[in-house]
Amino acid sequence: MRDLSVTFTTEGGIARVLDGIDLSLLQGEIMGLVGESGSGKTTLARSILGALPPNARLTGQTLRFDGRDLLTLGARAAAEQVRGRTITFVPQDPFSSFNPLFTVGDQLGELMRWKSPDRQPGERIYARARKRADRDRTLAMLRSVQLADPERLLTKYPHELSGGQRQRVMIAMALLPEPRLVIADEPTTAVDVTIQAQILKLLRKLATERGVSVLFTTHDLGAAWEICDRITVMYAGQALETAPVASFFREPMVPYTRLLLDSLPSRDAGLRGIAGDVPSLVAPPTGCRFHPRCPGASDVCRASHAVAVALAPEHWVRCHHPHREPVRA
């Protein structure tokens, strides 16, 4: 098993969108990244991929993937060997990620031409034999994401597919280069619950069977509960808590996590939200960014953000006043 650890800070203009995030992912693991909108989940996903907008600056100590430092790897090498090859991406909205003027088959063919696992670095000619092998591989992959009649599907245009089909094709495209890490950015927000259940099932199965690691960002705690092995909670660019899924939901220790879980609609809890708004990232609160809304905040929270400590096995917390008792027995 090869460890994959990421430690970095980004600086997007003057807004500090991510603030000292530590994250590690093991092989074949699904890591859930949950948080509200504006918490920096997508930025984090994009910085691993090296696809940040031009006004963003990425700084940090290390961003290691598979033993390689992605921060010092040149842009060319990253495009050639990493992005789209060993790390791939499933976008939030599959419709805007297709080119509407080309058939699905054309777009999959183009992907395989440059990103096929058979391609040698620097190879420019697309040999017939490789093309044929790639086509077979594509059809097999489309079948494995449970799309019926893949030959006909390849001749269709993106608008002819339903939302669930498009998202499946996107997952197939992310898996075709045989990556070691798939970054799925809210892959189920645009689809219905019955389709969501099918897609989550697919992601879980692929991670287990192929040993692919998945970084799964979502704001839906239910979806995170479904398929994740570990979960990290983010708030306003800071990672507050990382825990295995069972202890995350049974004994969350950070006040923000508790309030987030309490906001879920349920019969016994009634309707509880979190008072206040997400802070501005241009002038974020000092110390722990949650302190203006936190019921247990004290002076030390305003002064500094706590360092990460493991309060239980594998349960990392960055909070000065964590809860220690479980929520319910």
Binding site: E36, S37, Q146, S162, G163, G164, Q165, D192, V193, T194, I195, Q196, A197, Q198, L200, K201, R204, H219, D220, L221, G222, A223, W225, E226, I227, F249, L259, L260, L261, S263, L264, P265, S266, R267, L271, R272, G273, I274, A275, D277, V278
Partner: protein
């Protein structure tokens, strides 16, 4: 009027859209809402749930008079409104308001909030400018926003605040029935809870009845007294929320409920059985519309469409096998 009189009653209401080919000739009909009968009792919250494309938004817009029903009756506070022209219906429809899915997009970006809130009063009432402003201030306080927000533009508000403004705008005309179309989609859970609480407070304070259209079953379960589940333009199951959620009878409702991940519950992904997606609504299957995905489908389902019928516990379901 007794409290149990329905404030809104639909009888076999259908809304169809013509399908046209490239030359503009009509080639068929898309039946977005097909023979829906519903009633909403004063003061209750009726949840309408279903997947995208099942016709729930079209149903809401038909009731609000944005679309004309092609057949059937819509009775609101005892009078028929489905066949009225937009001008004739205007006075009646003051008391029946439709709240759009995305209030951020339905507010004019060039108008300050104060002006946007005043507009319905200008159109529908003969109040003086001072009276209008007083009412705007009252409603704004009721939805929990400070008076300073009147001078802001829509883009300066957060998503949760935009929902509040959307609700405030609805409340300006003192309606009795409000159609809320996906009022919580796109909101974070912590904001969603505060917005839902606001809806409940407004209902108690202004004596409202809600038709709550949503695809989020956990929200509907929490907020509504009765629900109606729609599939491809038809209501397939309707009844008291608790009864339907406790033991859904229609296979579609069963699968819809089984698909919702519940924290701490069984993993949905291990047990979920429904495959495929809804068929194309322009080319519906014969008989029962759900039979192409239903595990219990029999030849009988293809021949005969099950009618919505009463079951012993007061709910209604449209399935041959439900009892």
């Amino acid at each position: 009027m007794t409290p149990d009189t329905p404030i809104l009653e639909l009888r076999h209401t259908s809304t169809q859209f013509p399908l046209r080919n490239a030359w503009g000739r009509r080639t068929g009909w898309l039946r977005a809402v097909d023979g829906v009968s519903l009633s909403v009792v004063r003061g209750e919250i009726l949840g309408v749930v279903g997947e995208s494309g099942c016709g729930k938004t079209t149903l809401g817009k038909t009731i609000a008079g944005i679309f004309q029903p092609s057949t059937g009756e819509i009775r609101f506070e005892g009078s028929e409104i489905g066949s009225l022209s937009p001008t004739e219906g205007r006075t009646l429809r003051r008391r029946l308001q439709y709240c759009y899915q995305d209030p951020g997009a339905s507010l004019d970006p060039h108008w300050k909030i104060g002006r946007a809130l005043e507009e319905p009063l200008v159109i529908h009432t003969k109040l003086s400018a001072d009276e209008r402003r007083a009412r705007v201030r009252g409603v704004l306080a009721a939805v929990g926003l400070p008076q300073t927000h009147l001078d802001l533009y829509p883009h300066e508000l957060s998503g949760g605040q935009q929902r509040r403004i959307g609700l405030a705008r609805i409340l300006m005309l003192r309606p009795s029935l409000v159609i809320l179309d996906e009022p919580t989609s796109g909101l974070d859970v912590s904001v969603q809870a505060t917005v839902l609480r606001l809806f409940l407070e407004a209902r108690a304070r202004f004596d409202l009845t809600y038709l709550f259209i949503s695809h989020d079953l956990s929200v509907v379960r929490l907020i509504s007294q009765r629900i109606a589940v729609m599939y491809l333009g038809r209501v397939v199951e309707t009844g008291a929320t608790e009864i339907v959620f406790a033991a859904p009878k229609h296979p579609y409702t069963q699968s819809l409920l089984a698909a919702v991940p519940e924290v701490g519950g069984a993993r949905v992904t291990e047990t979920f059985w429904l495959a495929g997606e809804p068929p194309n609504p322009t080319n519906l299957p014969t008989g029962c519309r759900f039979r192409t995905r239903c595990p219990r489908a029999e030849p009988r389902c293809a021949e005969q469409e099950p009618a919505l019928r009463h079951l012993h516990d007061g709910r209604m379901a449209a399935c041959h096998f439900a009892e």
